[in-house]
Structure formats: structure tokens, C-alpha cells
């Protein structure tokens, strides 16, 4: 006799140009641990945002049925009221406040005069912390405990709200082996107490270890739900479900003219986090890119791909950078971004809005920003020339805009991406690093961007393409590197590579965390 606590039926959520969720159906039984897996962008977080009310009722279609009732959550408060608690991947704690203050944020314990009842606050917090095995005083500041414990505080916070369904979005992504194991065991304990959990994770060994059922999402659709009551599921079986997408997307052909000449390479490139300087984000990475080659970097979020690229681009990221960087065969020590541009490097960021474009400036001014010297004489800007150049690039890239005087912020995502690419093509680099060049843009614009990449390499340039979409890498790249946790864990020839091979290279390198069984 099955007892369903949550059923999400025919959920559809559209963003401009993309269907994030396409008729998703998702069912969770009472008292189980249900794993939700899928690649980046498969729709896992979007689905949980629908469940928690972060995406309010009315902005999606379909039904959310919790404990037999159809629910209409307009915000997080609504979903919390019925007993759904979501612990997000990025912790929402305030470092300068105490554990207890964080725990009751927005839900403060009050005295009858309306002031905060500190005795109850600290006392109840302490009790909730005990349930997750935290022995600290509830008056300790959040910043003084490690990320692992912060994660536990988040869970304790959820428990303090008397939750019946606990949703954990990648709870172990920043935890070490020991803490991860402890957290999963805790979920198993909660299960005994009757609390149902949904866990989103990329670590398949963890899934096999604790989940009773596994639902696979891919491209905004439910692919399948697998049983795992005996915890013996084969990880390859899950991978197959995650990546089993057909290569229906089309990629423009190009002539492969790969030269012998190495355009960019690095040896034992190691980078530490700029703030948490003991954390290694790129670990002895070595790779090379040849003339006329498109080289892909695959990996999950946080694998260190962006960090590798940015640190190579004039040390624009990281601290304590060691290792050797070569451009055109010669070792270089790039001081800053300007130095990198001068040496023929370009880095088009994954985050065009915050790191790429000046949204309140015109297309023309954005296009020329990285190479103002090309449109100026003795530091005086030649505005007609600037406009002429911008026109040329708008035409070449098929950027849809009424005028080059349009502000970049008024363009659609795909057209903004084209302006960002134009900016870096205007810089005339020899090596162009593209970080997620097709993120969040529609199929037509993607195709045009692939064409632009092909044109770049046909001119004898080299392109490094970082992407979380495996089919895109397989369709475009001559060679593909796989990265995980800061290390390069595999190298594949574009012709022989398959999604399964790359994904298992990435995921099996994860085994230093929890051992299944």
C-alpha cells in the first residue's frame, strides 16, 4: 500500500526562449529518501523552486499535491506552513549573527511584549541543534563554524519549523568525506523518525547509499524513476538515464585544420580560492590547445573550469597561482588582464550580465571596450570609427537590434551573448576562451554562435569552450577535457567520446567521498 506524501503533476515552467520544465511528474512516498538526479540545467532546482513557492503559483502550470491537498504556494512561507523545508545549495546564513539568530530568522521567538525572547531562542535552537548532532553553543557566530556545520545548522533550522518533507539541494557539495557520510546517516535517522527527504546530488555513490527511489530529470523532463530499496543500484545505470539524450541538436560542419603549433598550454597550473586561501580550486592542471582547434572543458558546476580559465587570463581569479603558462610555445607571466589581451588571449565570461557587459552602455561602446586603442588616436576616441566597427560586428554576428546605440541591457540573452562575443572578436585574440557561450539562449542563436566559433578556428585561431552541455561539446570540439574538483580527470578525442564516457570519468573520480554500501 503506497502512501504518497507529494505528487507534482504535469509541471510546466517556461522562461523566455526555453522550457525549463516540460511536463514533469514527480512522486514521493511517505518516509522515504528520494534522490533527484540530472545534469546541470536539467531542471532539478527549478522543480524544487516550484515546490517551495519560490516560483509562485500561477507562474507555472500543473499541480502540486501535498498530503492529498492541491497546494497553491505563493511564497516560501506558504510551503513552510504545510511542512516543506528546502535547504539550498548556497547557504542562506548571515555570518555575523549567532546560530540561534539565524535559525529563527523571520520566525523570531517573541515575548508577550513583542520583543525577542532570547531565552526561548537560544534554548529551542540548542534543542534543534542536538537533533543534527551539533554540540556548539547556539550563541556561536555562524562565521566561526565550518561549512559542514553550517549545512547542519540549515537542516536544524528546517527541523525547527516542524517539517514533514525535507528538501536538500546538493547538501554535500562542499563537504569532505567524513561530514558527507555523517549527513547521509543523519538522513537515514530522520527516515526512522518518519521524515521524508528529497536529496538533489551529483554524487551517485551517495545516491546509491541512501536513496530508496531515484528520479532522473533530463532537459526539463522526467526520464524515469528507479527503485533502490536494497541500495545496490549500479551507478552506470543512473548515468545512462542522465545523459541518454540523442544528439538531435544540429551543429554546423567545419573543415578540421588542426595545426601542430600549440597556441596555449599550461603545466601543473594550481590555483587557490581568493578568499578561502587554503581551498585548492585548480589542482595541477595541464592541457594544451592547438592552432585551429576547438577544445572543450566538461565538468559539473564547481569543477574548476571557470577558475582555470580566469586564472590563465591574466590572473583574473584566485590566489597563490603556481605552474607554467605558455602562449605560442613561450612561457609567459601575465600580470593582469590587459597583459593577457596584449598576448592574444580573450576570455568571454559565463556571466554576461555581471562580468561581461555594461548593460547601461550602448552596443557600440561595449564592443570596443577591451581594445579602445583600435578606435582612438592619441587617447582621443574616434566615435565615427567606433560606430563603424560596431556596425560591422552587429552585421557579422546577426545581432538583432534596432541600432548600435541601443543599450546592451535592452537586448535578449542571445543577442547580449553576441555582443559579448563581438567584443572579444574585436580584440583580435589568437586564443578565445568561451565560458558557457550558449547558456540560456535559444536554439537558433546557439547555432549562429557555433558558426562564429567555426569561423574563428578556420582563421587559424584556437577556441577553448567551457560548457555544461555535453552534446554541445561532442558536436563542436576536436578534443574534450573532463574536470572534477579542480583536477583534469580525462581527455577525449572528439570523435571517440560519448556522453557516458565523459560523465563516468567525471563521476567516478568522485569516489574519494562516500563509499557505497
Amino acid at each position: 500500500m503506497s502512501d504518497t506524501i507529494l505528487e507534482m503533476k504535469n509541471i510546466v515552467k517556461e522562461y523566455p526562449g526555453v522550457k525549463a520544465l516540460n511536463n514533469v511528474t514527480f512522486k514521493v512516498e511517505r518516509g522515504e529518501i528520494h534522490a533527484l538526479v540530472g545534469e546541470n540545467g536539467a531542471g532539478k532546482s527549478t522543480l524544487m523552486n516550484v515546490l517551495s513557492g519560490t516560483i509562485p503559483y500561477g507562474e507555472y502550470t500543473g499541480d502540486v499535491i501535498f498530503n492529498g491537498n492541491v497546494c497553491q504556494f505563493h511564497n516560501i512561507k506558504d510551503s513552510e506552513k504545510v511542512g516543506i523545508a528546502v535547504v539550498h545549495q548556497e547557504l542562506a546564513l548571515i555570518p555575523e549573527l549567532t546560530i540561534a539568530e539565524n535559525m529563527f530568522m523571520g520566525n523570531e521567538r517573541r515575548t508577550k511584549f513583542g520583543t525577542i525572547d532570547w531565552n526561548r531562542t537560544y534554548g529551542e535552537a540548542q534543542a534543534a541543534m542536538k537533533r543534527v548532532g551539533l554540540k556548539e553553543s547556539s550563541q556561536v557566530l555562524i562565521k566561526d563554524i565550518g561549512t559542514g556545520k553550517q549545512q547542519l545548522v540549515e537542516i536544524a533550522k528546517a527541523l525547527a519549523k516542524d517539517c514533514k518533507l525535507l528538501v536538500l539541494d546538493e547538501p554535500t557539495s562542499s563537504l569532505n568525506e567524513e561530514d558527507s557520510k555523517m549527513l547521509l546517516d543523519m538522513l537515514l535517522d530522520f527516515k526512522k523518525e518518519g521524515i521524508t527527504s528529497i536529496i538533489i546530488t551529483h554524487k551517485l555513490n551517495e545516491v546509491a547509499y541512501c536513496a530508496d527511489q531515484i528520479t532522473v530529470l533530463r532537459d526539463g523532463q522526467t526520464i524515469e524513476t528507479m527503485q533502490n530499496e536494497d541500495h545496490t543500484i549500479d551507478e552506470n545505470r543512473i548515468i545512462k538515464g542522465m545523459v541518454g539524450r540523442e544528439l538531435t541538436d544540429r551543429y554546423p560542419d567545419r573543415e578540421h585544420k588542426i595545426g601542430k603549433e600549440v597556441m596555449l598550454s599550461c603545466k601543473d597550473w594550481t590555483v587557490y580560492h581568493p578568499v578561502y586561501t587554503e581551498k585548492c580550486v585548480v589542482d595541477h592542471a595541464s592541457f594544451e590547445v592547438h592552432k585551429g582547434e576547438v577544445v572543450g572543458f566538461s565538468g559539473l558546476q564547481g569543477a574548476g573550469r571557470t577558475e582555470l580559465a580566469m586564472s590563465l587570463f591574466g590572473k583574473s581569479y584566485g590566489s597563490h597561482i603556481t605552474g607554467q603558462e605558455f602562449i605560442g610555445g613561450k612561457e609567459v607571466h601575465l600580470k593582469n588582464e590587459a597583459d593577457a589581451i596584449e598576448h592574444g588571449l580573450a576570455y568571454a565570461t559565463e556571466d554576461r550580465k555581471t562580468n561581461g557587459l555594461i548593460l547601461d552602455e550602448t552596443i557600440a561602446r561595449n564592443t570596443t571596450l577591451a581594445r579602445m586603442d583600435k578606435i582612438s588616436h592619441k587617447d582621443i576616441v574616434n566615435v565615427p570609427e567606433e560606430n563603424k566597427q560596431a556596425e560591422i560586428y552587429v552585421k557579422a554576428m546577426h545581432t538583432k537590434t534596432p541600432s548600435i546605440q541601443q543599450h546592451a541591457g535592452n537586448l535578449s540573452g542571445g543577442n547580449q551573448q553576441k555582443v559579448l562575443l563581438a567584443k572579444w572578436m574585436f580584440a583580435e585574440p589568437d586564443v578565445l576562451i568561451l565560458d558557457e557561450p550558449t547558456r540560456g539562449i535559444d536554439v537558433g542563436a546557439k547555432y549562429e554562435i557555433y558558426q562564429i566559433i567555426n569561423e574563428m578556428v578556420s582563421q587559424g585561431k584556437a577556441v577553448v569552450m567551457i560548457s555544461s552541455e555535453l552534446p554541445e561539446l561532442l558536436g563542436m570540439c576536436d578534443r574534450i577535457y573532463a574536470m572534477n574538483e579542480g583536477r583534469i580527470v580525462g581527455e577525449f578525442n572528439g570523435k571517440d567520446a560519448t556522453q557516458e564516457k565523459i560523465m563516468s570519468a567525471i563521476l567516478s573520480s568522485d569516489n574519494k567521498t562516500v563509499k557505497a554500501g
Binding site: 593577457a340 548593460l359 587617447d379 560606430n387
Partner: protein, 385 residues
């Protein structure tokens, strides 16, 4: 629709005209008397000059420099003290500008390279330099009487034999020459752009602009003619405004201020060092504050420890009234000048009317608030549609 765009683009110009006409009527025409028009710019010299630097600071991200009033006082105090001790005007000017340059390097370095928040850094400077100025002055008032110094900043261009008080044809002649040059420049510039296939405004609208500018220049010149001729201080102001107008609109260097304010991360990834941009903004600001100290010292004829109090606020207000974004990244020197003159006209009009100081503050505050509310509301609307 077109009319709406026009009103939006020239809101502050229209407001200036409105206020000007209003005060002309209220004062029974006294506002446009030769002496008053001549004094309008001189009285506000420090605002016009310092607003140029303040715009650079605001462009970098809505940051302001609160220390300029004190820097101005320190610069003036140093000059006055030196000249009282018998130094030459050249030495005094040099040392004053040197002091302000050092202040600029100091604050620019702290803000740009050490990442001290500008508000706090310049707030500290405001106390620090005010105190130092009073130390130099020994808490006394020092008169500025050196004739060479006064000539450098407060004299009028008068050609002996031709000009006399109340009748200075030289001003009109120079005014006409400038008007003619401007006319030729604007029309030639339009032709050049058209030749290069660059989209230009219609000939009629260019002509209308030329006529308006020429009319303003001639009208101003005629007022100057009717008083003491062209004040040297106007030349100082004009030089600064033109230089900064040129920097912000025509140079790569100037473009960087807009870029940093628009998106600092993207600017950095484009190979531009934001630290340098911050440094130059605060360096140039202090230098202009130092120059303003000399202008104000010469005009008032004495320096005391309270000189320049709250002048920073006038410069900041001018920028925001003139359409600079409170978040940085947008604003023009021309707009800022309109803002500064608007404030100046209101001040002068109310003084002529004999309204006491306290009301002038109320009106100033109201105008600033209205300008910013208008800016935010209209931009918000266009942003949505």
C-alpha cells in the same frame, strides 16, 4: 512622442529657463542686470569647477568626495599665509596646488589601491584638512591683498582707452568672435560627419542649436560689456569645464570612468585597471578643489577657518541635479553645468528678493530631491517599457 523625448532629454535645461524667467519676473528684472549676470558665474566659480571633478567620482559608482570643502580651505589658507609672509603669487599658487595634489594622491591611493570606502576616506579628509587649514591660519582670518594674485583671478579684461566701467566693447567683440568660431565649427563638424556617412541631425536642427548658442553667448557678452568686461575668472572656469568636457566625452581615459561605474567587473576583465580609474577621479577632484580655493580666496579677499564649509554638498547637488546617476556610469559635464547654474540662479534670485538664508536651504533641498525623484521615476518607466 517626439515632444516627450525632447522634454525628457532637456528637462533640466527647461527647468533652468523656467527658473530664470520666474526670478527675472519676481525680481522685476534685477536678476538680469549686467552686474548680476556678470557675478552669477563668479559667485559659483567653485561649484562649477569642483562639480567637474565630482562628476568623475560619481561616475565611478555614485561615490562622492566629502573632503573638497576642506581641501579648498586648506589650499586657500596656504596661499594666503604664504603671501602674507611675502611670497610671490606664483609660489603661493604652486604650493597650494601642490598641497591639493598631495591630498589627491593620498586619497586616490587609499580609495583605489587600499579599497577604503570613498565615503569614509573623504569624511576623514573633511575633518583632517579642515583642521590643518585652521592650524595654518592659527584660527585667524588672513586677508588676501597681493595685487598680482588678485589680478590673476579677479581682474577684468579691459583695454585701456577703449573700455570703461559700464561700457566695455572688448567683451562684445570677443563674444562675437567666439560665436562666429562656434558657428563655423558646428557646421563644419556636421558636414564632416555627414561626409563619413555618420548619421547626423537635420541641418535645420543644427542651425537652431547654433542660433541658440550664439544668442546666449552674445546676450552674455552684452551683459559683461555693460559691467566691467570679461572677468578673468570666467576664463578659468571655461578652461576647466572645456577640458573636463573634452576628457569625459572624447577620450579613452574619460570613457574608463563610465565603464567602471557601469560594470566594474566587466571593465576589469576588459583589461582596464579600475584602481587607476579611482585614483585619477580622486586625484583630479582634489586638484580642482585646490584651484577652487584660490578662486574663492581671491574673490572674497580673505581666508578664514570656515571657508568652504558645505561647498562639497553644492558640487554633489549640482551633479545629481544635472542628471548624473546616483549609481554611477552616466552623467555629462554639460548636464552638471546646467545643474550648477540652476542652483546658482536660485541662490541669486532669492538673495536679490531678500529671502533669508534658511529658505534658500529649503529650496535647494527641494530642488535636489525633485530632480532625483524625476530622474528615478522616468528612468524606471522607460526601463520597464
Amino acid at each position: 512622442m517626439k515632444g516627450k523625448d525632447f522634454v525628457k532629454k532637456y528637462t533640466m535645461v527647461l527647468a533652468l529657463i523656467l527658473v530664470f524667467v520666474l526670478f527675472t519676473i519676481l525680481t522685476g528684472g534685477r536678476l538680469i542686470m549686467a552686474q548680476n549676470i556678470s557675478n552669477l558665474l563668479l559667485q559659483n566659480a567653485y561649484v562649477l569647477v569642483m562639480a567637474c571633478g565630482m562628476l568623475l567620482c560619481i561616475l565611478t559608482g555614485g561615490n562622492v568626495d566629502l573632503s573638497v570643502g576642506s581641501t579648498l580651505c586648506l589650499s586657500a589658507a596656504a596661499a594666503a599665509k604664504l603671501m602674507e609672509g611675502g611670497s610671490s603669487p606664483a609660489t603661493a599658487v604652486f604650493v597650494s596646488l601642490l598641497i591639493s595634489a598631495v591630498i589627491g594622491i593620498w586619497q586616490g591611493w587609499l580609495i583605489g589601491y587600499i579599497h577604503i570606502p570613498p565615503f569614509i576616506c573623504t569624511l576623514a579628509g573633511m575633518f583632517l584638512f579642515r583642521g590643518l587649514a585652521r592650524v595654518i591660519l592659527d584660527s585667524k582670518t588672513i586677508a588676501v591683498m597681493n595685487p598680482g594674485f588678485l589680478k590673476l583671478f579677479t581682474s577684468y579684461i579691459q583695454i585701456p582707452g577703449v573700455d570703461s566701467l559700464g561700457n566695455c566693447p572688448s567683451a562684445m567683440v570677443i563674444g562675437i568672435i567666439i560665436a562666429v568660431c562656434l558657428t563655423i565649427f558646428m557646421i563644419a563638424n556636421r558636414a564632416k560627419k555627414a561626409k563619413q556617412g555618420y548619421q547626423v541631425a537635420s541641418f535645420a536642427s543644427t542651425l537652431i542649436r547654433v542660433i541658440i548658442f550664439d544668442a546666449l553667448i552674445i546676450a552674455y557678452a552684452s551683459r559683461l560689456m555693460g559691467y566691467k568686461g570679461i572677468p578673468v575668472m570666467v576664463i578659468w572656469i571655461l578652461a576647466i569645464v572645456l577640458i573636463f568636457g573634452f576628457i569625459t566625452s572624447k577620450t579613452v581615459f574619460g570613457r574608463y570612468f563610465y565603464a567602471v561605474g557601469g560594470n566594474e567587473k566587466a571593465t576589469k576583465l576588459s583589461g582596464i585597471d579600475p584602481r587607476k580609474v579611482y585614483f585619477w577621479a580622486y586625484f583630479l577632484m582634489s586638484l580642482l578643489a585646490g584651484l577652487s580655493g584660490l578662486l574663492v580666496g581671491a574673490r572674497i579677499g580673505s581666508v578664514d577657518g570656515n571657508m568652504g564649509n558645505s561647498y562639497e554638498m553644492d558640487a554633489i547637488a549640482s551633479c545629481f541635479i544635472g542628471g548624473a546617476s546616483a549609481y554611477g556610469g552616466s552623467g555629462k559635464i554639460s548636464g552638471v553645468m546646467v545643474g550648477a547654474i540652476l542652483l546658482g540662479v536660485i541662490n541669486m534670485g532669492m538673495s536679490i528678493l531678500g529671502l533669508p538664508d534658511q529658505y534658500q536651504y529649503v529650496v535647494k533641498g527641494a530642488v535636489l530631491l525633485a530632480a532625483v525623484i524625476f530622474d528615478v521615476v522616468t528612468n524606471h518607466k522607460t526601463g520597464k517599457s
